[in-house]
Every structure is written in structure tokens, then in C-alpha cells.
């Protein structure tokens, strides 16, 4: 399945970014919502907002997850908590381990190697601003 980049505000007026929405629902029941995420092969895990998304919308007890340290570019270490969650994306449905980060500063979620790239062959056509996902059974969703 192919996804066009989203265009978001920047100092140059606009910047195209490889954003894909995941569809999330609280495991205990509740409203379904979409959460735009940056596709980022530099990220070891998928990183979601702990309070705003994990606690408030998915109704998770964040501190019940496995605690882990995440190291940033400036050498600053942040705390994250791993939780197994279900997410849907473009017709696929996955259970994945996601790291919920209380101090995540990104304005969206991050789809990284564990929990996203290990499910998909991901092809960027950056000049055309397109990402293509194929699952490892070779299926392309249209």
C-alpha cells in the first residue's frame, strides 16, 4: 500500500513528511481514534506519548510496562515504558510492543524498527513523496 507524505508547516512554509496514521482503541473498550506517526528507521522502537495517548486515551497504566532508558542525540536519557498494544494501519492489524514516553516532545508518534519495520518492507520514494508498505507475506493492500 502506498501513502503520500503529509505537508506540515515549517519556516520554509511547508515541509513534506512521511506520516502514516495508526488507528488505536483502548484495550478496555472506548472510542477509536487516529494517531499520525512519523515513519523513522532511526528509531529503535515505536514511541508514543505516554500521558496524552497511553494513559488518557488508551487507558493504560503506563508504569506497569517494562521500564527502559531511551538515549537521545544530546545524550539525554529519557524513561519509557513498553506495552503490547493492538494497532491498525491501512487494513493491517498488529499486536506490537510500543514504548510510551512521558517526556516525548514530538508532535506526533514515531514508528520505528521494532513494532513497525519488523512487520513491513518499507520503500521510500522521497522525490515523489511516497512511502510503500508491503507485509512480509508479500501482500500489497490497495
Amino acid at each position: 500500500m502506498k501513502f503520500r507524505y503529509w505537508k506540515l508547516p515549517s519556516y520554509k512554509t511547508t515541509i513534506p513528511m512521511p506520516i502514516i496514521e495508526v488507528v488505536l482503541s483502548p484495550p478496555s473498550g472506548g472510542e477509536t481514534f487516529r494517531y499520525p506517526c512519523l515513519v523513522d528507521s532511526g528509531a529503535e522502537y515505536c514511541y508514543f506519548h505516554a500521558k496524552g495517548i497511553g494513559r488518557d486515551l488508551l487507558k493504560l497504566v503506563i508504569e506497569d510496562g517494562e521500564a527502559m532508558d531511551i538515549k537521545g542525540i544530546a545524550g539525554i536519557s529519557l524513561e519509557g515504558y513498553l506495552h503490547k498494544i493492538h494497532y491498525k494501519l491501512g487494513g493491517w492489524d498488529f499486536e506490537a510492543e510500543v514504548c510510551f514516553v512521558p517526556e516525548l516532545k514530538a508532535p506526533f508518534g514515531i514508528l520505528g524498527r521494532a513494532g513497525f519495520f519488523d512487520f513491513f518492507k518499507v520503500q521510500f520514494e522521497h522525490r515523489k513523496e511516497i512511502i510503500e508498505l508491503k507485509d512480509y507475506q508479500g501482500k500489497k493492500k490497495q
Partner: protein, 70 residues
């Protein structure tokens, strides 16, 4: 192919305060806003919007290594 979306204009009214917004399924309207994703989502759900999308509005999305800068 999933459509891309140009959010440059619709996010601009909310970016100075760095509000969370809920977007309609076609991403053409802001249907909720607040200081948290929940506030934005609740506002959208009151309007019976199905599967709104929640994102934080900021003035400039460029220049960040999001996964490393966190």
C-alpha cells in the same frame, strides 16, 4: 494509494499555543482542540466525528531528528 494531506493552513491558528487538535477524517477541518489529546478528541466526539485524528499543532515541524531528539 492513501492521500497525503496538507495541514499547513489549518494548523496555523493553533500552532502558537501548541494545542492538540482533532482533525476530521478528510483532514480538512479542525473538529476539536485542547491542551491535551483527550480534550481535542472529546470535543470531536461530541460532534459525532468518527475516528478523528489527533496531532499537536506546532509552528515548525522541520529541523528535528524526532527519534533522537525526543
Amino acid at each position: 494509494m492513501e492521500k497525503g494531506h496538507n495541514l499547513t493552513k489549518i494548523l496555523s491558528s493553533y500552532s502558537k499555543e501548541r494545542l492538540w487538535v482533532a482533525l476530521s477524517p478528510d483532514k480538512k477541518r479542525v473538529v476539536g482542540k485542547g491542551k491535551t489529546p483527550k480534550e481535542a478528541l472529546d470535543m470531536a466526539l461530541k460532534k459525532k466525528i468518527k475516528e478523528p485524528s489527533v496531532i499537536q499543532a506546532i509552528p515548525d515541524y522541520s529541523g528535528a531528528v524526532y527519534s533522537l531528539g525526543l
